[in-house]
């Protein structure tokens, strides 16, 4: 009993790390330019399908699939920034929400049209099998996904706080006009932010695809997870997203285990609403 519980918690943490990874992309874009990307979950979905195609149709492994998904999604992020976001950012909020929401539909149903509505999944032993650590059984695929996601999210935090690029991006976030006066191109920095944010979703998608069900509408569920994570962690905060992501992973696993799989999403959504209600500034935000 205790072992199972520990196993559930560890599983939740590993899944939560992946949540943290793609949520940090959402929080970065939101914090930096006050744009909420309603297509964020569908970016993750695209990452999953890229990985699926590489793993099954092209015969490549995660070593090829993950970098390729990251790269393709990062490119998509830049295209979306220059093609859409840059213009709707300055417009009314209706345009912002519509624009990214329309993008979500476009992506979701393009995949639906191409691959159909069926649930797909990858062979379980794609990334090694399952092994025991102190009697806790962990799938290699989940372990790999969790560890890589954790490292990359932490790396993202370092990138933003310890590098010149990071401080330039934060300068744009703080005051785009002032940054421009210092010779920083806000456009360039914002495009990089979109590349990073979308790249993170691509990687997360490729990682999660090794053990998660794959379906065109999965982006909707994952998008809401990202919103919950960001609103819990406080918008614009990568460490916040990390803590919140892990927490949600654990809560989801526990409620799935304790009250049944169908209720785990209900718990997460209810949690989200509760938070919006009582603590809209997020778990780590200031009043």
């Amino acid at each position: 009993m205790t072992f199972t519980l520990v196993q559930v918690i560890v599983g939740g943490l590993l899944l939560g790390a992946v949540y943290a990874l793609f949520s940090s992309g959402l929080t970065l874009v939101w914090g930096m330019m006050n744009v909420v990307n309603f297509a964020h979950g569908d970016f993750v979905m695209l990452g999953m399908y890229v990985a699926f195609v590489v793993y099954t149709l092209l015969g490549g492994g995660p070593l090829i699939g993950a970098p390729l998904a990251t790269l393709l999604l990062a490119t998509l992020g830049v295209i979306v920034y220059f093609g859409l976001i840059r213009d709707i950012m300055k417009g009314p909020m209706l345009a912002q929400i519509l624009g990214t929401f329309g993008l979500a539909l476009l992506l979701r149903y393009s995949v639906f049209w191409w691959f159909g509505a069926n649930f797909l999944s990858l062979p379980e032993n794609l990334v090694g099998g399952t092994f025991d650590i102190f009697g806790i059984r962990i799938q290699a695929s989940r372990l790999l996904a969790g560890v890589v996601a954790l490292l990359v999210t932490f790396g993202l935090h370092l990138l933003l706080t310890r590098t010149t690029l990071g401080s330039r991006m934060l300068a744009v976030a703080e005051d785009a006009t002032a940054a421009q006066l210092m010779g920083i191109r806000p456009d360039g920095m914002q495009a990089i932010a979109w590349a990073i944010a979308a790249g993170a979703t691509g990687l997360a998608g490729a990682l999660i695809a090794t053990f998660f069900y794959i379906v065109p509408t999965v982006g909707e569920t994952l998008g809401i997870v990202a919103f919950v994570t960001v609103s819990l962690g406080g918008f614009g905060s990568v460490p916040g997203a990390l803590v919140a992501g892990l927490l949600i992973g654990v809560i989801e696993s526990l409620s799935g285990y304790l009250i049944g799989a169908v209720y785990k999403d209900i718990v997460v959504y209810a949690l989200f609403l509760g938070f919006l209600w009582f603590r809209p500034q997020g778990l780590m935000g200031k009043t």
Binding site: A171, E174, D175, L181, M182
Partner: protein, 255 residues
């Protein structure tokens, strides 16, 4: 006493933008709030209007505690304001902008329209009543701000840099308008950068520096106060230096 602010403090994190400022306002006053950029006068102003919540302190209006009241509730009591950067309702006509103010005292559209028209008449914008508000330039927008506020039939009107960005002639016209408003029995609080405006309008002046009140008195008294002169000169010197070191502009993010 019309307005009484006691020990108003507003902190953003550990930074105190306004530190224990107090002020009283009597019927018929024109109080000027001055100080260098970032001295806290705008923050103090927004604490009075309810746009910012106080960290500590108390604001009384006609002996009622209004510290916890929202801006709309303060407006109902008779506190009106304008914005430094005009917050014009872009999608409306000039008349409709003023009607929003007039609706505070009447729920009826026709009545609100009649009142709005008479306010426009008073501020000399009648001919523009049906023009889209977004077609106005800065002077027109600043004047529209005042018209809207007047339409709420305030007892106290707080003007936040109502003259900034106006030409010499436009400033003179605006001063005349403020005098006219004052004559009609409305008490005024004005935040202003232009000294000439303060000198010619204010009956009393309060000087802010680094979040604290450093002087108060008649315009003549405060302008000869050594602390005030030091505050202004000091800031000017710092400003000149800042012009040459771009790093100053970066503020927080670099650290």
């Amino acid at each position: 006493m019309l307005l009484d602010a006691r020990g108003v403090t507003k902190a953003f994190g550990s930074f105190k933008a306004v530190d224990a400022a107090s002020v009283t306002l009597e019927q018929g006053d024109i109080l000027g709030l001055i100080g260098p950029n970032g001295a806290g006068k705008s923050t103090f102003f927004n604490c009075l209007t309810g746009d910012l919540a106080l960290t500590s302190g108390q604001v009384l209006f006609e002996d009622h505690d209004i510290t916890e009241l929202l801006p709309e509730a303060r407006a109902r009591l008779g506190l009106a304001r304008t914005f430094q950067v005009p917050q014009t309702f872009e999608g409306m006509t000039v008349l409709e902008n003023v009607m929003i103010g007039a609706f505070l005292r009447t729920p009826h559209r026709a009545e609100a329209e009649a009142r709005a028209r008479s306010v426009l008449e008073r501020v000399g914008m009648m001919r523009l009543a049906d023009a889209p508000a977004r077609s106005l330039g800065t002077p027109g927008r600043k004047r529209l701000e005042i018209a809207r506020a007047l339409a709420t039939e305030p007892k106290v009107l707080l003007l936040d840099e109502a003259m900034a960005g106006l030409t010499q002639r436009e400033v003179q016209l605006a001063i005349d308008l403020v005098r006219d408003i004052h004559r009609s029995g409305i008490t005024l609080v004005i935040v202003e950068h232009i000294m000439e405006v303060i000198m010619s309008l204010a009956s009393r002046v309060m000087v802010f520096h680094q979040g604290k009140e450093i002087a108060r008195g008649s315009p003549r008294e405060v302008t000869s106060d050594p602390a005030v002169i030091a505050a202004y000169l000091g800031t000017r010197a710092a400003k000149a230096a800042a012009g040459h070191t771009p790093i100053e502009l970066m503020g927080g993010p670099a650290t």
